[in-house]
Amino acid sequence: MRYVAVFGVIILIILLVMGSVTTDTDEDYTKIVEVILGIHKVGVAEESVEVRYGHPPNLGHQCGNFTATVRAINGTSLFTFDVWDPRYQFDEYGIRSVLERHEQMEDPDLEKVYGDMGETVDIDLPLLIPYNRDIQTIDLVDKCSGNLLISVNVSPALDRFQNRFPRDPDMMAGTQCTLPVTAPVSGKQSPIPIAVCVLAVIVVIILFHRVRRE
């Protein structure tokens, strides 16, 4: 009997290990809030706001002329970070204005060429922000003057995402007032991990009883 028992325990351990390795490790629901702002000669405008799947860059390590503040619904600051003004770039001998080219475009024909290329703003300022369920607005402030350049409401983008991905765990967390229910198993799930666990339970119970009886 003991050989059967030892063999059974070994099988049991193998089954348990199999069960653990079949547990999903690729789950990735990480999302970003992508805000594209257009820096015009006369100010900053909202170009697009979208919530999508993806990982954001690491924030909070840039120096720059702008400060972005991500705010919650009640107006509290979730986090703040500096943003580099994309109109300026460093070459080996100093800083260059990207807009020089635009400033030199006094020729209306050239303006038209750029317009036909879809260039409606002087330059884009993208902000890729880690998704947080409490995000409501993103404020961009000019560091030098302290002036608020723009306040972007991200709620419509969040609503669009929720409509498109209502079963995303983060989206479901927003409907906690309703009790969640487990989805019906419709045969699409691979039955192997569950069968392995059921088998493991049965083997343990049988072993337990046989060992006790003897």
């Binding site: 924030l59 120096c63 001998y93 479901m172 699409k188 691979s190």
Partner: protein, 413 residues
């Protein structure tokens, strides 16, 4: 259970005490109860992780007259071959993985109306497709092979500085003042990979050889970077469209996690001494983060590390010129007053008499009177002042680099 009962269970009087003890460990009540708990735990956990909880306000699946089965077929966009093992999400909830040669998954009883299909597979770009049931009962979701390919085994993107190298299909001849199309990378990706590996080895993995030993870098600093190269046969950067060049149009969609993108072009002809020639190196952004990138030739190491000083480590130029100056707190390499420079050097037990005003023009620049209301500490040859092969990051620059490396995930996001 008594010791006697254990012996009875084992049944063999010839067993040594040691063997009996081992078997006792295997077969006492607690051991079996523990295994039982483990098995039940596995039984409970697996289905919960594999099958998402549904949002009852939005019925997705369920057997009813107004539902249909939906067949998902996942294919390689290039070869058309089916992809097995792809994870499929319906409306954001996990449904299962594709199988078979045709990469198929059947989702049963999908409710009528619009739905989103999200497909993920390692080695491919994820894709999202919208379908309407029952008008569409089959959805083919093409996956594009991964464009952003890690050079090694990457760690979590939140915990490392993610650097993506992008090949340029242009270079420049300063003597002729002419931008030149080049197929050095586009015709042979191996050339690009070799240059990237060389740059990584000589600049990032041996960063400690270019930084101050007094300050030092974090232990295993090499593991604080993820390196990738961008691979799309139809899309290349243009290193000479604007100062810092332009990245492929979809670059930020393909790699939003990028902390710094680096455009590499094969060669710069002649010597750059300012306009009218195009700059050989140029950075957009000061520090890693959103929209930070720079361009550099594959062949000039000191220029590379200078531009990396801006974009990867957020360091300020220490030469005097028409550059951007600020006190880049914390642990700056440039201060807005001499007193603050001195306080920093005293606090770090450096030689405070080294603090000096930024007044020395960049090398090769036309001699002119220059003086900024900013102060610097690092001795020359300083990489942020005069990038040459013997220049180094001094104490101040190294301390700032160390701060960046030790605080990559600043908010534990």
């Amino acid at each position: 259970m008594s010791r006697y009962k254990v012996s009875a269970i084992m049944g063999n009087p010839r067993k040594t005490n040691r063997e009996k003890n081992l078997l006792f460990l295997f077969f006492n009540d607690w051991c079996l109860v523990y295994l039982l708990i483990l098995a039940i735990n596995g039984f409970l956990v697996l289905p919960v992780t594999a099958i998402p909880v549904d949002n009852p306000s939005v019925p997705i699946t369920g057997i009813s007259a107004n539902s249909s089965d939906l067949t998902i077929i996942v294919r390689n966009i290039d070869s058309g071959a089916g992809i097995a093992g792809a994870r499929v999400y319906l409306d954001g909830g996990f449904e299962g993985t594709t199988s078979g040669n045709d990469g198929r998954l059947i989702i049963l009883s999908v409710s009528e109306g619009p739905h989103s299909i999200r497909v993920i597979k390692r080695g491919y770009m994820e894709n999202v497709k919208d379908v309407t049931v029952p008008a569409e009962r089959q959805a083919v979701v093409p996956l594009h092979p991964l464009k952003v390919i890690p050079t090694g085994d990457p760690g979590p993107v939140e915990e490392r500085i993610d650097i993506v190298f992008v090949p340029s299909n242009t270079q420049y001849d300063c003597t002729k003042q002419q931008k030149i199309q080049t197929d050095y990378y586009s015709s042979n990706e191996e050339n690009f990979r070799n240059d990237v590996n060389n740059i990584i080895e000589k600049n990032f993995l041996t960063l400690d050889a270019r930084t101050s030993k007094t300050v030092g870098l974090p232990e295993n600093f090499q593991n604080l970077f993820n390196f990738y190269y961008y691979s799309d046969p139809g899309e290349f950067a243009d290193a000479f469209n604007g100062c810092a060049g332009t990245l492929p149009e979809d670059f930020w969609d393909d790699a939003p996690f990028t902390d710094v993108a680096i455009i590499i072009y094969p060669k710069y002809g002649g010597t750059y001494k300012g306009p009218p020639c195009e700059p050989d190196g140029c950075a957009s952004g000061l520090g890693p983060g959103v929209n930070s990138w720079f361009k550099t030739p594959a062949t000039i190491g000191p220029l590379f590390i200078h531009e990396a000083g801006h974009s990867v480590f957020g360091l300020i130029d220490t030469y005097c010129g028409d550059s951007y100056y600020t006190q880049n707190n914390p642990d700056p390499n440039v201060w807005s007053s001499q007193s603050e420079c001195i306080v920093s050097s005293e606090n770090n037990q450096w030689e405070f008499t080294t603090c000096r005003q930024i007044a020395q023009p960049a090398k090769n620049e036309i001699a002119q009177t220059c003086r900024k209301d900013f102060w610097r500490y690092d001795p020359d040859p300083d990489i942020m002042a005069t990038p040459n092969s013997w220049a180094k990051f001094g104490n101040a620059s190294t301390l700032h680099i160390r701060y960046i490396l030790e605080n990559i995930n600043r908010w534990n996001l």
